[in-house]
Amino acid sequence: MFIVKYIKEVYSAIKSLLVGMKRTGYYFTHHKEIITEEYPDNRHTMVLPDRFKGEVVMPHNEKNEHRCTGCTACELACPNGTIKVITKFDITAEGKKKKAIDKLVYHLELCTMCNLCIIACPSDAIVMAQTFEHSVFDRSKLTKVLNNPDSKIMEGIE
């Protein structure tokens, strides 16, 4: 019958609305369900997973030595010219010339964190750091030299 159908329609409509309101009402009263974090305040307690790809860095040991041989594998692996390896020739103790890096220039502004350089590196000289707050006021600050000044290659890395 028309009237019965009409009333049923109105009833089911109102019911569906109330079900939705019950759901939002539940979250309104249950503050434990809140999932957002207060980001800049929780900075020191924040833990990023160790695989997080933040930026490429070159670890140095306490004697200011790194593992980079200057083989340019990373430069070749990089899809968008983020890494530039500038090499020089060191004279070793025996008087031999040995290829070493002068500078490993890293353009953070071009980097897409694709991790291809890291897996290409044969001597594990570069790794991904877990930093992510990269914004600066001047773009030129994003161009970094990864090896420390006066750093040397570690013993035994070929």
Binding site: S12, A13, S16, L17, V19, G20, K22, R23, T24, I35, L48, P49, R51, F52, K53, A77, C78, P79, T112, M113, C114, N115, L116, I119, M128
Partner: protein
């Protein structure tokens, strides 16, 4: 251009929806001819985020080009990478280790859930309900956390490389995926309470944006948008890749062809994805995660085509190789581009408010359309 700022000769109003508009989720530009509130014509203008990925890939090696595809359909970046890896493996005839295959499919399905999750929230927001967006992000964030832990990134992973995976899965991976599934199962009914069952929502969706199965095929539509019209087009079933032939799942089909059907396809598809993950997560075989490949990859001369099912539909990668280290020509057949072309046919005669429902259920991702 003068036409676009005024009215037509018939006195119809022409309005520009986009490139900056709250409902276009990006930089889609639609020029709409309106008679009152009724849509007479919709004309997409594309290219605001065209980066010519196809041209870029011509100068990238086979190891490098897949990271670019993460930026195409960024919501299913993992599946795009999978397609790129598949085509290189096909060309080189590399056998991928079983472990990698399992993980790839699990991650594909997680990506699909994450993408549908975002779609659900964004579409509800288009229709004026803001709250579902945040509820959807709760679940999506836990997927992103899993991705972050294993792949090292939340959105543009680049975790799949030709031959397998870039790294082995994280030791916590299986546990966290299982945690996610139990969380997800406890929350999925809330979606129905909040949105699906809502009378206002149903009225906004039912009978809106109808497209017939013939038209859907003719427009080259694919994915959930076409399955809402009853087109049998799930690449995972038709042309199985990875280990999709070993898992049990249903191809979700709805026959109504309207926005609500497309909506229900995606909602049901999320549940199917969960069941796929459940079947695989405990059975990931031990062993290698990366097959041995040469350092420099060279595809043999010839043409290669792979199709995968992304969250939006069929992604085709077509490579013409001249035997060099870079592809000679590469074409990405993106699902969004074809799906968008059907929008005009769908929208004619409906109200302006329906347009957002249609765009919502087509699940357009603009970088995927423009490439």
């Amino acid at each position: 251009m003068t036409e676009e700022i005024g009215t037509t000769a018939d006195g119809d109003l022409i309005i520009n929806v986009g490139p900056q508009h709250p409902a276009t989720h990006g930089v889609l530009h639609l020029v709409i001819t309106l008679n009152g509130e009724t849509i007479k014509k919709v004309e997409p203008h594309l290219g605001y985020i065209h980066r010519s990925i196809e041209k870029m890939c011509e100068s990238l090696t086979y190891r490098q080009f897949s990271y670019v595809t993460s930026r195409m359909d960024y919501l299913s970046s993992h599946i795009n990478n999978h397609a790129c890896a598949l085509i290189v493996e096909k060309g080189l005839q590399v056998e991928v280790p079983a472990r990698a295959k399992y993980v790839r499919v699990i991650l594909d399905e997680l990506t699909r859930i994450a993408s549908h999750e975002l779609w659900w929230g964004a579409m509800a927001m288009d229709l004026g309900a803001f709250t579902p967006f945040f509820h959807a992000f709760r679940e999506r964030e836990s997927i992103n956390d899993i991705m972050e832990e294993t792949c090292g990134a939340r959105l543009t992973m680049n975790y799949i490389v030709p031959g397998g995976l870039m790294q082995d899965i994280h030791p916590n991976f299986q546990k966290r995926v299982k945690d996610f599934i139990s969380l997800y199962k406890s929350k999925i009914d809330e979606y129905d309470e909040l949105v699906t069952g809502n009378i206002i929502f149903q009225n906004r969706m039912k009978g809106v944006g109808f497209i017939s199965a013939e038209d859907a095929i003719s427009f080259g539509m694919s994915g959930p948008a076409a399955r809402g019209s009853g087109v049998n087009c799930d690449i995972r079933k038709l042309y199985p890749y990875g280990i999709y032939n070993q898992v049990q799942f249903d191809q979700v089909l709805e026959t109504a062809g309207d926005s609500f059907a497309r909506y229900m396809v995606r909602i049901r598809e999320m549940k199917q994805s969960v069941s796929i993950i459940e079947q695989l997560i405990d059975n990931i075989p031990e062993g290698e995660f990366l097959a041995k490949t040469k350092v420099v990859l060279k595809l043999p001369k010839g043409e290669f085509y792979t199709r995968v099912e992304t969250a939006r539909g069929e992604l085709g990668v077509y490579i013409v190789s001249e035997g060099a280290t870079t592809p000679y020509r590469i074409k990405f057949r993106s699902p969004g581009f074809s799906n968008l072309s059907a929008l005009d046919t769908m929208a004619r005669g409906s109200k302006l408010g329906d347009l957002v429902a249609m765009m919502g259920t087509l699940d357009l991702v603009i970088p995927d359309i423009d490439r």
